[in-house]
């Protein structure tokens, strides 16, 4: 019984905490102020392939009868 109550208490606390996150838009604030700027910095500094170097060879008609 005590264990059940303890589990119930923990779940209730988690539920309340999640509600607080929801109600005070903490998920949005976290993503906006912390996560997104961090990721944008990462993408801006990522080494990327120069796609302008992609070759431009002549192609056969893909529907040509063999």
């Amino acid at each position: 019984m005590k264990i059940i109550l303890k589990i119930f208490g923990i779940l209730a606390a988690v539920y309340a905490a999640l509600f607080a996150v929801f109600y005070y838009d903490l998920d949005g604030k976290f993503i906006y102020y912390i996560f997104e700027p961090m990721m944008v910095r990462r993408y801006d500094n990522m080494k990327r392939e120069d796609t302008l170097k992609t070759p431009y060879d002549m192609k056969e008609d893909v529907m040509k009868e063999e």
């Binding site: 302008l52 431009y56 060879d57 002549m58 192609k59 056969e60 008609d61 893909v62 529907m63």
Partner: protein, 397 residues
């Protein structure tokens, strides 16, 4: 070089859509059929009883009313055509043979349908669907469309003879014009060309905007004249260029390029002759209409074509034209707000120098040529760069 025969007369004809020869054609009882696009086969509109008029709006100013209807964020060519129509400049047309090939000219032609603009009780505007590929399915489709929306309509409205015999005759006459234009144009391939790009542009345009039976004699004379025309001892140009791009119906633009020292030796653009003046060949067991449909699809280099190999072949075609005409560079000229050529120009500007070693001058311009100073600067810089390249190339040898 001494003046080419008939060139001044031809230049005069280009000052108005309803020029003297169009007027004569109408007086001779022929039907004037307007069109805007290569995908509307000119040869069909030149059947006995009618003549084709590829629409231009020369000496356009500010198309204020057309801008109300089509906003200022659409191609000025389409707007100027609408403005000219609203001004009454196209009232001579008996029909507009329309295609939904590019959005803006399509909208212009839809305005002709929606609003009572052309003051001609016989006028009608008929749309033809044009495929995006060159395969058999597309040729079949195109043939059906031309039959239903061009030939049948001409017969229904104007009693035009659209029989195979009439088509063959039209093809024969069309081919003669093509042969003459190609012959005239071939002088641009010479090491010392005996015709300028401006002159050629005037001649080519006249064949598109006037009844051909009224200019055929002049064309023959010009071709004859060129056989003996001598180039200048000291050529005025410093390099040779191909002009490619979207709609271009202003010979003074070509003149502007040539005044900057670049001879325009090939016209690979809408309203140009490459492609545009190849002879139509009617194959064995092929109807004339089928041959026409096949011809206009197979010869066209319009950026509207979507098949992968066709898209890629366009670049090679352009490079081949540059080599054939011994061009030092390519001027890619896009009409502002032209969607197709925005992308085609972007890729050509990157691929032509990188893969084919051909320098490119990439510009955007308006139909009404206001930025002459800026364009002149660009062309002069391009010419200088080509000269420099030649010098460097000579020095390294």
């Amino acid at each position: 070089m001494k003046d080419l025969k008939h060139i001044i007369e031809f230049e005069d004809l280009l000052q108005e859509a309803y020029n003297a020869y169009v007027r004569r054609g109408k007086e001779d009882g022929l039907r004037a059929l307007g069109y805007t696009c290569y995908f509307m086969p000119e040869v069909l509109l030149d059947l006995p009883g009618c003549f084709s008029v590829r629409l231009r709006a020369p000496r356009s100013g500010s198309p204020d009313i057309a801008t109300y209807y089509m906003s200022n964020r659409t191609c000025l060519y389409g707007r100027c055509l609408l403005e000219r129509a609203l001004e009454g400049g196209f009232n001579f047309l008996d029909a507009q043979m329309a295609t939904e090939t590019c959005t803006v000219t399509c909208r212009f032609q839809e305005h002709l349908q929606l609003m009572d603009i052309i003051q001609n009780p016989d006028f009608f505007c008929e749309f033809t669907d044009v495929p995006f590929k060159k395969n058999e399915n597309s040729i079949d489709h195109y043939e059906k469309q031309l039959k239903a929306h061009v030939l049948d309509k001409l017969e229904e409205h104007f009693g035009i003879d659209t029989s195979d015999e009439a088509l063959l005759k039209a093809i024969e006459e069309h081919n003669e014009v093509c042969r003459l234009i190609r012959e005239i144009g071939s002088y641009r391939k010479l090491d010392h060309p005996t015709i300028t790009g401006t002159e050629f542009s005037i001649i080519q345009l006249v064949t598109q905007v006037c009844p051909k039976y009224l200019i055929i004699d002049q064309l023959r004379e010009i071709a004859e004249d060129l056989k003996t025309r001598e180039p200048d001892d000291k050529p005025a140009y410093k390099c040779r260029v191909v002009l490619t791009g979207s709609e271009e119906d202003d010979p003074y633009f070509v003149q502007l390029i040539e005044e900057c020292g670049a001879l325009v030796v090939a016209d690979r653009h809408c309203y140009g002759s490459i492609p545009g003046r190849e002879e139509i060949v009617v194959g064995e067991n092929e109807t004339p209409l089928r041959a026409i449909a096949r011809h206009y699809l197979e010869t066209s280099m319009c950026p509207r074509f979507m098949e992968q190999h066709t898209m890629r072949e366009r670049k090679k075609f352009l490079a081949d034209v540059a080599r054939e005409y011994k061009a030092d560079g390519i001027v890619i000229c896009q009409m502002k707000f032209c969607e197709y050529w925005s992308y085609e120009r972007t890729i050509d500007t990157l691929i032509m120098p990188r893969d084919f070693g051909i320098p490119v001058c990439s510009i955007e311009k308006e139909y009404v040529n206001n930025a002459v100073g800026q364009l002149r600067t660009r062309f002069q810089a391009f010419v200088e760069s080509l000269e420099f390249k030649k010098i460097q190339g000579g020095a390294s040898k």
